[in-house]
């Protein structure tokens, strides 16, 4: 019974891809709305230096993102535990009362494709590589910006956050949820048996082409955004681009997940979680850097002015204090 359980492909739900797709379309609408609002605003923020504090209190960002991270993990973990318990119960109800066959490895527990590289494994590896390269490019661009005294991406993102803190908080929560769901995974109790693993039917090329289209779109948006940055109104256009980039990555991933779930027996999340299990150090580093990204862009507080360095007030060294209308009005 349990052996048959492991050889049957998981049931496919028709509702889930539709719900995910609807959520992706809603995010797409939000992206267009935010881009339009930020682009056409009178002035999203100071063109000299972006403000740190927004009209939302700090604890909203901190606790909401951490809670979303934990909920994301729970949303992936609870169904696994529930199915595992169901399979274990079925295995235990043998006629002789003896546990002949321990629970077979579930799709979520075993490392999908481990030892059997297939299309989705290669595709997810490829996507992870592309994402790491995008992070490398973005961080390198930040360094280049400081060297050449240009505004880094962070400043534009901070302007957008200042302009729409509520929507930004929502985007930060979605990011934290996705990170917790995909990158905080456990191997769980390993129950390896001699039952051969089922063939993994996903073809390589269609999956890779879909991922290529998504990542290619992101890259094109980056270059177009840079172009607009040069010709557009400063800093509105750059801020619109930055906010569109942060929302756009989630939109692309959500829509792709909907297509993937509709066409394949296993959701893309399972494959990404399997990747995180295979490369836990990479997943840890990625979770850390994405946490830094969320904290750096969405959580910022006004400094205590004047800034005290080595026991001496040096407010002139801090742009926030220098540009603030009333430097002593900070909390």
């Amino acid at each position: 019974m349990a052996g048959q359980e492991s050889t049957n492909p998981p049931r496919r739900s028709n509702v889930t891809p539709i719900l995910i797709g609807a959520f992706g379309v809603a995010l797409l609408v939000l992206l267009v709305y935010v881009g339009d609002q930020v682009w056409t605003a009178n002035q999203v923020c100071s063109s000299r230096f972006p403000p740190r504090a927004t009209r939302l209190d700090d604890y909203w960002v901190v606790f909401a993102t951490i809670l979303a991270f934990v909920l994301g993990h729970a949303s992936a973990r609870v169904p696994v535990l529930r199915r595992h318990r169901a399979v274990t119960d079925r295995a235990a109800t043998d006629e002789t009362g003896v546990l002949h066959s321990p629970a077979q490895p579930l799709d979520d527990e075993v490392e999908l494709g481990d030892g059997h590289p297939t299309g989705p494994v290669v595709a997810v590896n490829f996507a992870a590589t592309t994402f790491l390269m995008i992070v490398t490019f973005a961080v390198g661009w930040e360094a280049y910006s400081f060297k050449t005294l240009q505004w880094p991406i962070t400043y534009f993102a901070r302007c957008a956050t200042f302009f729409g803190p509520e929507i930004s908080l929502g985007v930060a929560v979605i990011w934290a949820f996705v990170i917790g769901r995909l990158l905080w995974v456990f191997t769980g109790p390993i129950r390896i048996t001699n039952v051969p693993r089922p063939p993994l039917p996903l073809p390589f090329w269609p999956t890779s082409i879909k991922l290529l289209v998504v990542t290619g779109t992101i890259v094109i948006v980056v270059f177009l955004g840079r172009h607009f940055l040069e010709v557009g109104r400063f800093p509105n256009v750059g801020s619109a681009f930055a906010s569109a980039l942060f929302i756009g990555v989630v939109v692309a991933f959500t829509l792709f997940s909907a297509f993937f779930n509709a066409l394949n027996p296993r959701p893309i999340g399972s494959w990404i979680q399997a990747w995180a299990r295979r490369f836990p150090i990479l997943a840890f580093l990625l979770a850390t850097v994405l946490g830094m990204l969320v904290g750096h862009v969405y959580w910022s507080t006004q400094p205590l002015c004047p800034v005290v360095v080595a026991g001496q007030a040096s407010s002139s060294e801090d742009l926030d204090c220098r540009l603030a209308p009333t430097p002593s009005a900070s909390p």
Partner: protein, 113 residues
């Protein structure tokens, strides 16, 4: 861990190649040492050096990930393999993901430029 529990022999398709992971680790450490030496001589441009260091780390990780992708496409499993003594150790990183996320959140909040 699975190998210990099942007594399976190592997969013969796994080929012993260049120790790219060690090369990557050395490359990251050398780049960080150079950046630190530059910073100790000139305390300007702290942000620039910080981001170059992060970029160096992710450039190496991207390269290793690309190597794993190519190996998987060629049908070689477990392209990125840690030494045996480190295999069990790496599983602890699964537990550390929330620590990394939260620490990154707090650290980057304070690292404002």
């Amino acid at each position: 861990v699975a190998e210990h529990q099942t007594g399976q022999k190592p997969d013969p398709r796994v080929q012993k190649g260049w120790p790219l992971g060690w090369f990557g680790l050395v490359a990251v450490l050398v780049s960080w040492a150079v950046l630190y030496l530059h910073w100790s001589q000139d305390h300007q441009l702290v942000e620039f050096r910080f981001f170059v260091g992060i970029a160096a780390l992710f450039a190496v990780l991207s390269t290793l990930s690309a190597h794993a992708t190519i190996d998987a496409a060629l049908g070689r499993p477990d392209a990125l393999r840690l030494p045996r003594w480190a295999k069990d150790f790496q599983n602890y990183f699964q537990l550390l993901a929330p620590v990394g996320f939260t620490a990154g959140l707090i650290f980057a909040h304070f690292f404002w430029h």
